[in-house]
Symmetry: C3
Subunit: 430 residues, 3 copies
């Protein structure tokens, strides 16, 4: 079976050893934003961002253990999860007991290599399947990690597609996890696909795409753009866990009934997806940072199975087999629906508004009284005219008006277009 | 059986050929407002009112068709619905095929003459029962309409009965339809009956009565009084379809929970009427104009069977047989109940308000402690005193207070009167 | 069985002949506030307080009737309810018929002496059991009351225990009823017990205790402190009927959803008490005065069986047998719970608030990424940290935050303490 583009980019990205800073992050960002012209905002090692300080870059060449028989295992080259993220360099002989203190495994998932990092405290260590750990025999083990720390940059990839209004929707994801599939790559892949779809479109609203490292990247980005976002953001989503086979879960914004929530739930309904909603909770992904008290941005997270609901999360079992490219495509489609709904959400102002305009003289209403009009059916378009004119107060959204009419969306849009062309209404954004 | 006054006025009005302008309208207005001293506000032909222009007056003397055997039919003198409203003059011989292009009928109601008008576009035509149309034989037909257009006036009949407060309730209806009963004459008849009942009463609130032509008359009136109404209207109703045998239907205001809505629903309940409510929709009668975005007046419509729910609507079958004078009287009574409730809706201000006043020293409370007061019953009036004093904050309406008390309205009103007389509360309007 | 302190104080207070002014009131106030250092606010006889005027003091030495056989009955010394409150002096011979006009009894409760007063109108009279009344034989009766009126003071006992915040909760009761138990002494006893518990505590909020005469005392007090209370009161309760064996009834404040209501209902629930709530009504005790329109203070009343629901109310049957000291203690405990909840109700401000603070560098979060964090459990305390930081906007109360967490209160408080110590949040009052 031929690979589709989603799979191609996934396969390129999956093996790369990403971390919050370093060459793996940069390379991944280049691949996933290819042709999309993302701006790279850099924060230097040592720089303070609010309560945080940008750490050094971490780059690793090799990492493995040699067993008493000189056989390599926990080899970073076989699976980059074997070395804990931000491990310092080591080259040492240890006996089994001392080695075990440096090994991380999951008894409950004996065939999974766990994902472990230590960004802000110097340490080294290896991650190993519990089943393999159990079999290790006493003897001398050599641990070898060739890594180094150096001044560098935390990078935020940012792209804003400008529409007519500067009011915007934010799509944010993170690119700092090494070889994991659902809880890493599906977020950036969905994000870049949305971006591709929009980049050449004439849009009413602006759309912002942010790819960075979880937590510190979002915080650094807020330092740069938080105030702007407070003024201009109308909705936003943190993208993660978008590729498994489960149904959708929408984690609501802290406000619980924001426009983000409206759009997400509406899109899921219009797409006829099974889904459930969960209220905001302050653990999770970067919606936490965006929703912090001084920014309070309405960021929700439309996922499939959330991170806290599948056991493979943050292990080597969150891999290509775990996800499904059809699911990713579905997730893209729901997010595109959110945009579609938003693009159509206009606010009309009745340019006259003092009584009804005379539709007849414009050929928009029969100049012969529609006898028995209420028994024979008023044409849908005429009925739309009356609804739109009656509710065009600049505050009732087009969706709300549409839902009153019983019209098809097509006829409704046609009705709006006619009224607009005749200058009976003017259309504006939120 | 002797005709009651409702029937007498109905019989006078029914045959008159009304239209939006012209002698029929003027004559009808004079009849229905006889002794009520309505003001006539005039808008000249050619004058702009918002998006509209006042048309010319239309007056017609004769209108008929002669069949190949020289027999008259579609004779305006037999039923003024036979000639479409605002028909231009014609005197011409036609063959059957050409004639048929000028004939309007209703296949579904083969014995009804439809009601058709063409106010804003010059045309001529006749309305005919479908059963009669079917029988027309080929041959030469003479069509004859003796009508003329002339500069004149659109008239709004207006009467304001002033009460102590200039806050007011509007009753609006239209008088521009020719010989139809439920959807024309019942509205003006109910309106004038209310007006008669109120004209010599001492009232707390003001009441405004408006009789004009549907749509253009309401728009012209808004041009004149819209700003005043925005400041002073507390409720209002468009009167139509008030004479059939059906139950009541209350079409709510656009706000859906306005004081108009409260009063109408309350009146229907107190009168123990069967009724249903429907949400506002922007087709219908002049509630559309009053509710347009720049005025947004809270106008509801308390009807019996609404225009869109009976097949005789806008045809010759909406005639005296279709209606019932008992139904009209019931409709009047419900509207009078609305007024009665409104008249009683006061706002009280506790003139002291710092703790309770000493009722005992005024003889309003036993100066002997009412031992076992809570087991024996506190007299209703005393209990009312406490409720009224406690809630007299100037914002809680008398109705709300009354509903807390479990008192009869009579005793409640007596309680208020006493407190007011003793200057413990002052009473004011909305 | 040994008397507990509640019973001891009850036994001291019960026999005293209290009234709205006079030595009985003063003596009772001294007993019940012993060691609590209440301030005595005095209002002189003749002074105007709003619509009221402070009456004279009433003091009585003797009161009885001699029957035709010279046997004493209705002896004030046997039961002070026998003489109506504020009786003027009398010394007179009457025949039975004239005597009966001066006797008050309850046919429905034939063994009860009713409680009757006449504060504002001079009269004299006796209260008698109906069963005794029935047996009186014709003949000469001597009525004797040795009482006098003199200028004096209405006294309000007031104690404010100051906490860190000057925002306060009011506990109010009255001490003007003679020998009755549930509807008199239980209120002051509960009030003084709360006061004792709080007096040496370091408190976050202030607590105000008011003991005075019902109605006129509360009104006089409002004259003195009403404006201050309007600015600083956050909740308040009128204490009465707290000692019978019935379940709790909470009479809500006029606002119906005030902080007073929240605290009372919460306390009852946390204490797992059976209770019902009733909406505010403007008869009852001094919540009426506090809630009057110009003050509108949110005063509720947490009672057991309310005054209007037990037949012994305001009679000699509301005595020591009717109440139960265990019930009084339970009532005290619920009020103390109200205070406990209030004391803990803080408002947090995230001192950083721009994204999350870096908990790891403070040792408040693992510096090793908590692999599989969502499947293994995040420690409760860490989860609390995130909730508290996320919701520390200065407006969300600690209770609301606590209820989101699923943490025990102990761990929650520990979490707050840590965040506060680390200066990540600051804590403030309402």
């Amino acid at each position: 079976m031929k690979k589709n583009n989603l799979e191609k980019v996934f396969d390129k990205l999956f093996p790369i050893n990403r971390s919050i800073m370093g060459s793996g992050f940069r390379k991944s960002l280049d691949i996933i934003t290819k042709g999309l012209n993302f701006k790279k905002i850099k924060f230097k090692s040592g720089q303070k961002v609010y309560d945080w300080q940008i750490p050094k870059e971490w780059n690793i060449k090799e990492g493995y253990i040699l067993d008493p028989n000189n056989r390599k295992f926990c080899n970073f080259k076989e699976n980059n999860l074997h070395v804990i993220g931000y491990s310092s360099a080591i080259n040492k002989i240890l006996n089994l007991d001392d080695l075990k203190k440096k090994l991380y495994s999951l008894k409950k998932l004996p065939n999974a290599i766990p994902y472990v990092t230590s960004y802000y405290k110097k340490r080294w260590g290896f991650c190993i399947k519990y089943n393999q750990l159990k079999k290790l025999k006493p003897g001398k083990y050599k641990v070898y990690i060739n890594s180094k720390f150096s001044n560098g940059n935390l990078v935020v990839g940012e792209k804003v597609i400008r529409g007519k209004s500067k009011k915007e929707i934010l799509f944010s994801s993170y690119l700092c996890h090494p070889s994991m599939a659902n809880n890493e790559l599906t977020g950036p892949i969905v994000l870049s696909e949305i971006c591709k779809k929009l980049k050449n479109k004439r849009l009413n609203y602006s759309y912002r795409f942010v790819l960075t490292s979880e937590t510190i990247g979002a915080i650094a980005y807020l330092k740069k753009r938080g105030e702007y976002l407070k003024r201009n953001l109308i909705a936003g989503y943190q993208l993660t866990c978008l590729g498994d086979r489960g149904n959708f879960t929408y984690k609501k914004t802290k406000l619980s009934n924001s426009y983000s929530d409206y759009l997400a739930i509406k899109a899921l309904m219009l797409k006829k997806k099974k889904f459930k909603t969960v209220e905001f909770f302050p653990t999770g992904s970067d919606e936490r940072q965006y929703s912090s008290p001084r920014f309070n941005l309405p960021i929700g997270s439309l996922m499939r199975t959330p991170y806290d609901k599948y056991k493979e999360y943050h292990t080597s079992l969150d891999n290509k087999e775990f996800i499904n490219f059809k699911s990713i495509q579905e997730s893209i489609n729901v997010y595109l629906k959110i945009i579609e709904i938003n693009e159509k959400n206009k606010f009309y102002k009745n340019n006259l508004g003092f009584g009804e305009p005379q539709l007849g003289k414009r050929g928009l209403y029969g100049n012969l009284s529609s006898y028995n009009a209420f028994n024979s059916e008023l044409s849908t378009i005429t009925n739309n005219f009356f609804w739109i004119l009656s509710l065009s107060d600049g505050k009732t959204s087009s969706h709300e008006i549409f839902e009153k009419t019983n019209s098809s969306l097509k006829i409704f849009n046609k009705s709006v277009k006619i009224l607009k062309k005749r200058k009976l209404i003017s259309v504006h954004d939120l």
